[in-house]
Every structure is written in structure tokens, then in C-alpha cells.
Assembly symmetry: C2
Homo-oligomer: 346 residues x 2
Amino acid sequence: MSSTEVFAVLMAGGSGTRFWPASRRALPKQYLPIGTQKPLIRETFERLAGLVEPAHVLVVASRSHKKLVRALLPELPETNLLLEPVGRNTTPCIAWAASAIEQRAPASVQIVLPSDHVIHPAARFRELLATAVAAAAREELLITLGVQPSEPAMGFGYIECGEPRAGGLRTVRRFVEKPERARAEEFLRSGNFLWNAGIFVWSTAAILAALQRFAPQTLAGARKLDRAPGRAQFARLESISIDKSVMERASNVCVIPLPLEWNDVGSWNALPESSGPSAAGGGALLALESSNCIAYAPPGEVVALLGVRDLVVVHAGKVTLVCPRERAQDVRALVAAMEQRDKRFV
Amino acid sequence: MSSTEVFAVLMAGGSGTRFWPASRRALPKQYLPIGTQKPLIRETFERLAGLVEPAHVLVVASRSHKKLVRALLPELPETNLLLEPVGRNTTPCIAWAASAIEQRAPASVQIVLPSDHVIHPAARFRELLATAVAAAAREELLITLGVQPSEPAMGFGYIECGEPRAGGLRTVRRFVEKPERARAEEFLRSGNFLWNAGIFVWSTAAILAALQRFAPQTLAGARKLDRAPGRAQFARLESISIDKSVMERASNVCVIPLPLEWNDVGSWNALPESSGPSAAGGGALLALESSNCIAYAPPGEVVALLGVRDLVVVHAGKVTLVCPRERAQDVRALVAAMEQRDKRFV
């Protein structure tokens, strides 16, 4: 087992609008420091240091962000960058990366993870990943990581745990879509549900076998892709999440609880309260008689607050955004309206 | 009387901090469009068009803003620009301008006015000024313009009117400092009080005579100044308002009611509610489910609001300010705090 090669696949294809105006089409959230020192993708890359060597990290990103990835991850061999001409959800992305890794090291184990989550502490995260890697090297398992819920969140999918297995794993009884409030509270009380973090560990053989069974056309298409496929070729692959295509249907799925600080950085409201002198993003925050606000500004720029509370205030480029924290997930509506008004700011 | 030469003195020496972060030390409010299409000083200049010819407009401004004045008022002869090395309130400014005008046209009438007020409609304002000019040409009067109060404002000085005189003038019973709420309400009810707008009309002879009587040292000092005096020389003049030095003491003071829309643009809260698509300052405003906010952004920049109300939101340069409208006058506290933190943003 000590000879198992470990690969990582960083999924960076997202183009979310929920961090507008800091994030733009040309600069999605994973390329920004959002409540972190470094851009999220850089933090994710460094979080794996010691567990996965840079030569074994593959990044699947949008073709339009190639330069960003190269600049932020200069250690990454250029051949490890897979460029999507269009976003097609996680199944094509995972199938493509799996077949690329198959060509190099068919006996390897893979860690597949979003590039835009915050996880602390990194050392403990690596320990848990190492446990999962060892399990995946031993058995043909599809391992997903589940986050211990801290509140009855309605914004995440849930995983109901089944029987305990060796190595801290649990079987998975079922995946549950984002629940209503009452159900989410029930899940939290039961103690048997975890948030689906979208982080996976499996052997290359295991994921290829699962894709062959549950998404054979996508796998066949992915095997034909070079590192920068054309739009038509890529768009032919079915746009579906790996949860839907494989995880909810396979019988060899397990989960490892992740008893860590985890944040999917899903909206401005996911950031901790800003307290001076620094704003999220590296700029300055000057706040007088203000409380429970989230402030963002890039280095060299300033957010100044006087007598306000519970607000999100973002100064980014030529745009200022202000909304209540509880409305942060509705920022998309502003982006949609901006799209109609002036595309330069989207 | 038709041969009376009319001069205007634009007082532009202010360096207020209440419009931070749009206004900065290097760019005070009078040089910005604040709720107007053009910079306030430009609007003030154009408001006099037809009544005072550009060659008869003098501007008293801070030495450090010379280039701004030249750029915004290119019609102004360079010799009409009096540059204060340091602010000394209105008496030295008025004495200096009066003695400069005396050298050119001792028989003239002057209109002396702040460069940073908003007055509508301009044509009606010019009519009232013409009435005052005619009265000042006839008699040795010190005429002040009084604004019809629309609310019991506590931020202005008041003028109590006395007997009616010819040409719509009233004698002045007394000047009253900024009142408490109850007194302001009483003033409003009585119908006999006007806001002191700091706009004056007098003959050059009348103001020189008054200064000779009530501020002889300042007048003597002002008469020795060239157009760009040294700091020590100017600082020797007593820093005192013309209200205190002359208007509250002279017996030939009259007032003309100004039944117009007048705004001294004293704080962000003095601006009208912003409604999209334009922010004050010429930028864009994108507001969803928001009400009663004041938004400012320069051209090419954007304020985006979602689900907020009663806020001041300013995007200016590298700074965003957010505060409740009712706290707008406390922005100075932020400026003071910023001064300690990083002078680049003040």
C-alpha cells in the first residue's frame, strides 16, 4: 500500500455569481481570497501539501481562466491542467480527470475536491484524507467526506450514515437533497446525518468502474478528450453531478465524517464577521459603532462603516455592493439586473 | 443705475470633510458634483450667467486648489482668482475681494456667495439678485438673502425680519445662532424668521465703509495683499465670519426673502433620495427592494443596493462609506479616525 500513488483533482470550473462584485465572470470566487489570506484555489492546493505532490495534482478549470490558474499555481505542470470549454457539472469533469490519471497510474488513488472551500486545520484534514486514501487503496470504495452539521442548514445536501466500518468509515444509507427547515432540524437532532461536502476519495479503478456502469457514454467521451477540447465535443457530455450519476446509485459508497471547521463559502454571509483593521480580501476596514457586518475590499482599498449592523459591504473594482447579511444569497438577482444594464460590471 | 457694474465674489475656501470620501483635502465638495450635473462651483458660476459677466467674477479659493478652479472655470481671468494660503473664515475673504474690486470699479455693486450651494430655479434667483443689486445701488445697504424655512432645521442660523421696505426688502431685527429644536419650531410657526444663507449683496462702498468701521485692521491688511499672499501675512488677519464682524453689528442691514429651493449641501443627508439608474456624482445606481437611500459614485462606477433603506452609500476612489442617513453629519468622525490610520485616504 505504501507504493500507492496519490493524485488530487481540483475542480475549479465554477463561475458563481454569489460573490459579485468581487467575483466576476473573468474572476470567479476560487481565484480570490474570500475570507482567506490567499486565493481559495491556492489555499486548497497548499492544504494538500505533503499528502499529494504538485506533479500529481490535476486542475479542471474553465478554458477562460487558464492564465489565472497558471499564475496562482506555478508549481502545476502544464499537462496537469484540463481546460473545460464550457461547464458541464461534475460528472464529465471527474470522468475526464479519472481517464487522464488512468493513463499515468492506473493503480492510483484519487482525492477529488472543490477548489473553493475553506477547511481548518489543514493537518487534521490531511490525516483524514490519508485514512480515506488507505481505505480506498484496500477496497473498491467510493468514499465521500461528510461534514458534522453545526446548525440545521437548508443550503446543503445531507448524507444519512449507515453501519460503522473499519477505519472510521460508515456506510451510506441515503443521500438527501437540500431539506426544508423542519427536516433539517430533525437531521441535526438525530446525529446521524452529515453535510455532503462534495469531497471524494476513490481508487482510479473504482471510479472508472462506477462510471463505466452508471455513465458509460460520458466516460467514453471523456476518454477521447485532449487537454483543451472543443466546445462541441465537450458539450456532448451529459451535464450532471457525480452525486446524481454515481454516488446515489452505487452500492460501494462510504462516508468519513469530517469533524473540522468547514466552509463552502457559499455566499458573502458565509464569511465571519469583519472586525477592523482588515476587511476580507486584504483591504482596510474602518468601522465606528458598527457590528456584525461583513466587509470586503481588495488591498489598498477601504470600507468605512459608521453606525450600521448586519450588513454586507463590498468594495470591488468600480462597484460597491450593500445588502443585509440575510439577503446575501440574493446577490444573484443584482447580477442578473446588472447584466441587463451594463455587462462591463458582471 | 443702469451703468452700475456688478461683480460677484465666489467664496470657495471651504475644506469641509462632511462629504468624505468623495471630498478629500485635495478635492473639497465645491469642486465636485454633489447631487448636481456639474461641480458645485461650476453650477454657482453658471447660475450668475447674464447677471454678472465672467470678467467680473472673482473667486477666493485655497491656494492648493488653484488648478481645480482654473480647470472648472476656464472663462475666469487669472487675475480674478484670489488664493488664500490658509482659511481665515469669511471676513478676510470679503475684505480682500472688496478691496480688489475697489481698485477696478469703486462705484460697483457686489454679490458675495458661497460656491457650494444648490439653488433652483436659477432664473428666479437672478431676478431676486437683480432686485437686491438695484437696492444696493440706490442705498448704502448691507443686504443678506434669507431662505424661507421649510422645516424647523437646527443646523442653520436664523434672521428675524423687521419692517418691510421698498423692493421686497425687510429690515433685520436680529441674527440668531443655530437654535434648539423647540426654538426652531417656534421660529417656523412665527413665519417671521428666515434661514441665513450667507449670500450678500452690497455696494463696494457700503461693505468697505462697514469693514472700515467694524474690522479696520482686517481691511487694512487685506488692502496690502497681492493675489497670492504668503501664509504669515494672511494668517495675521482675524479669522471671523462676516456675520459676527459686520452683519450682527451694522445698522444698515436688510434681508430679501429667497422663496426658492435652496440647499446648502451640508452633509450627505442633504441630498435627495437617489433613485436609479443614476447615483449622485454621475455614476450608476442599481437598487433592488431598497428605499430612501443616498448613493454616490463618480462616472463609470456603480453602487448596487439590495434590500436596504435609509442609508448613505458612497463609492469614491478607493473607498466605500456606509452609514445611516441620520448619521451623515458624523462622517467627520470617520475622517478623523482615517487620519490616524492612513492619510492617503483623507
